[in-house]
């Protein structure tokens, strides 16, 4: 898994390339913590290049969601592929994690 963080006007985008499983989940947790520490609590996780997710990856997303909200922001998903959406639905987390077509539109309507 590769993770890339990019700064935008008013939010940051964390892009996940590959499989989001136990081996990479700590990287996502750290990236979100670093953003919050730097004062950015509005985070989009771009999953358009994420091939697969399991419960460890879901845990990292939920952890990020909780911590960004505590910091006054939010964590939203963009570009969710079918393989990831299938797992989100199985766990009912599609109702908890907001999903947007692209990272650029995730915080449009604030």
């Amino acid at each position: 898994m590769n993770l890339t963080t990019t700064a935008h006007e008013g939010f940051a985008v964390v892009s996940i390339d590959g499989r989001l499983i136990a081996s990479g989940a700590p990287l996502l947790r750290r990236a979100v913590d670093d953003l919050i520490g730097d004062g950015t609590s509005r985070v989009v996780v771009d999953l358009s290049r994420t091939e697969f997710i399991d419960s460890s990856g879901l845990g990292a997303l939920i952890g990020g969601l909780k911590r960004t909200r505590v910091a006054g922001g939010d964590l939203r998903l963009a570009g969710v592929p079918d393989a990831v959406r299938a797992v989100l639905r199985l766990t009912n987390l599609d109702r908890v994690l907001g999903e947007y077509a692209t990272p650029e539109t995730a915080f449009d309507e604030r």
Binding site: A22, S23, S55, G59, I62, G63, A86, V87, T91, N92
Partner: protein, 139 residues
Amino acid sequence: MSGDRGTVTHQGTASPGFVDEVLDALESLWIAVPSVPTEDRTLFMLAVSEVTTNIVQHSEPGVRVEVLLSAEEGQLRAIVRDTAPAVSLDLGAAALPGPESESGRGLALTLEVLDEFRHDATSEGNSWTLRRAIGTSGR
């Protein structure tokens, strides 16, 4: 679909990178059985990932793990054998935690996507049997 068949094995030491190695092996199985529907691939991979992650996270250094992955006769199967001390596990007692929980979904998900999930204590350690029938989504 039923004409496709293939088998892949992978073995190694329980370590954080081991799960990725197993999933790489599973990807190579899909190349041998191209007719397996995408949803079956995803959900079977989910079970394999959960079970091998659980073994890796609960194993002492040096535990060996062997994974046999196969697709044939409309079934996806994984047999996972480890050399860890035999565990005692209630496979029927898994429920999804609340939406705010950051862990505890692995076993419930595994049971949800499989048609058979069995654990056997062996003389060497543990044996896990995973089976999903292909093309029966919406169960």
